[in-house]
Subunit: 308 residues, 2 copies
């Protein structure tokens, strides 16, 4: 049986793209419009300013500004899970404190990602200092395990110690390892946490095991299909039709994993919105070459992926 | 023959420790006193706010403040090479612009370190955007190659393209790979750049090949020995006595490589200054356990490493 997760912190979250203006700063109107579109097309929530949102490429000021603008743009605060991690503790404290004050559903916090092989003690101390310095009983912290990108994994031992020290505050974990066994192991080991898959490829498997859902890049362009799977599962469980819906979701996931994912999805969104400039990515990411973009769009069309 | 490097950007630089107060913020008076001590004891310059200085653990505001305070504390600007890299382009622009306006000798810039496997195009674009946005003819940028920590290497191709696009601005490279062959290859491939070893272990070898010197953590506690080697080499070249001095430097390096280096050196500095609190490190680094600290100090004493 699925554990009861904090309300609103479950379901299908899009790790939203941060669309950019010509100066490579967040294009606020375009970002807000994209979030609205996602919520109207299958997403239960928005993961704002995560990896897919290129958050580490923006200053604290830019990140605070985008959250404020998103709320002012009418996106309900309880739909938002905000990436508030940073290499610097002071930055993470500022970002997290602001997000909690803004009333968002949760804060997704990647480990500090400069120093490597830091040891359990240092990693625990960092999260503990963050929580204590933010000092807000309303903080719902989602740990963000993405060893391929952060190069700083979050070991079970550290999770257990944090859960024991800060019950209620440590609300969940996003597992972007891509390793289903790891996700299932977390669900088993931490029944009180909302465990999210970082890929829609394992959405059904994670839900069936008692997980909370997914927070994924792919949902930027396949939210309807992922949302349909989740809605079906809630209504009917893991029947054969759920399996077929998962197969379709997985096939679409394959499409965007074969290319630089953020750049490719931006190409698709830019075409959908009729604004070529929205394909921009912030350095150090690079945009797709024209030929690669055309080939990607052709594959997307062939697969019948249609953005409404 | 050694190429002519920009004045002041050569010799022995200490990658200075950032000593901390009880709030885990830079302890300004202690930091300034440490820099003064280093310059009076064998260092030609200070590498402020690099990896050893735990720079990525501090906010932009904390980093700007420490540079200002260091200059106000009487450290000559031409002695300073300042770490001004960051994951976010906007942060690196602000830090680098401020350092150049302050008149420092150089800016040491690590690649943006969140996204991995970013490709040559994105890495070049990031440095190019940094240089163009700073827009200061006086910028002397030292590339910082430290693949084990940043997880983002700087390939020769990208260096060559940056040197061609921004001659004069790209002034050097610090190689912290620990791979002497890589350092020698860089010296050969880029005779116009000041190539620094990131370890004093290879100081003599790098100088003999035409390199600029070293920027090293170890110099925080062995600056006299390293400075003696450099002074001897400048006067007499790589004679047998230089070899013996290098052997002594290498033996001391071995001491600090066997332990968490930053934490251990802070233990030593704290003892030397008679202020136990100066052993603090910022999370996610962790301090040495008491027994490890005692054992380290015993080994240091046995090796005859005496801070004056």
């Amino acid at each position: 049986m699925a554990p009861s997760h904090p309300q609103h912190i479950k379901g299908v979250f899009a790790a939203a793209l941060t669309l950019l203006d010509a100066d490579l700063a967040p294009d606020i109107p375009a970002c807000v419009a994209h979030c609205r579109w996602l919520l109207a097309n299958g997403c239960d929530g928005i993961g704002l300013l995560g990896t897919t949102g290129e958050a580490p490429s923006f200053s604290v000021g830019q990140r605070l500004g985008l959250l404020d603008a998103t709320l002012e743009g009418g996106i309900a605060k309880h739909r938002l899970m905000v990436g508030t991690g940073a290499a610097a503790l002071a930055d993470a404290v500022e970002l997290t404190g602001h997000a909690v004050s803004s009333g968002v559903a949760g804060c997704l916090v990647v480990p500090p990602f400069y120093f490597k092989n830091i040891g359990d003690e240092g990693l625990f101390a960092w999260y503990a200092a963050l929580i204590e310095r933010v000092g807000e009983a309303d903080l719902r912290l989602i740990l963000y395990h993405f060893p391929q990108m952060s190069a700083v994994p979050i070991p079970h031992k550290v999770i257990a110690r944090l859960v024991a020290a800060f019950p209620g505050t440590i609300a969940g974990l996003k597992d972007s390892s891509g390793d289903l066994d790891n996700m299932l192991g977390l669900i088993e080991a931490f029944p009180g946490l909302a465990i999210f898959s970082g890929t829609e490829r394992y959405l059904l498997a994670v839900l069936e095991a008692g997980g909370a859902g997914c927070i994924t890049a792919g949902a930027n362009v396949t939210s309807r299909e992922i949302g349909r799977l989740y809605a079906h599962w809630r209504e009917f469980g893991g029947d054969p039709e759920a399996g077929a819906l998962q197969q379709r979701v997985t096939a679409l996931r394959d499409l965007i994993e074969g290319v630089p994912m953020i750049a490719a999805m931006k190409v698709l969104v830019a075409r959908h919105r009729g604004q070529a400039g929205l394909a921009r990515v912030a350095p150090p990411l690079a945009g797709l070459a024209d030929a690669d973009a055309s080939a990607f769009l052709a594959r997307v069309d062939e697969a019948g992926l249609i953005l409404p």
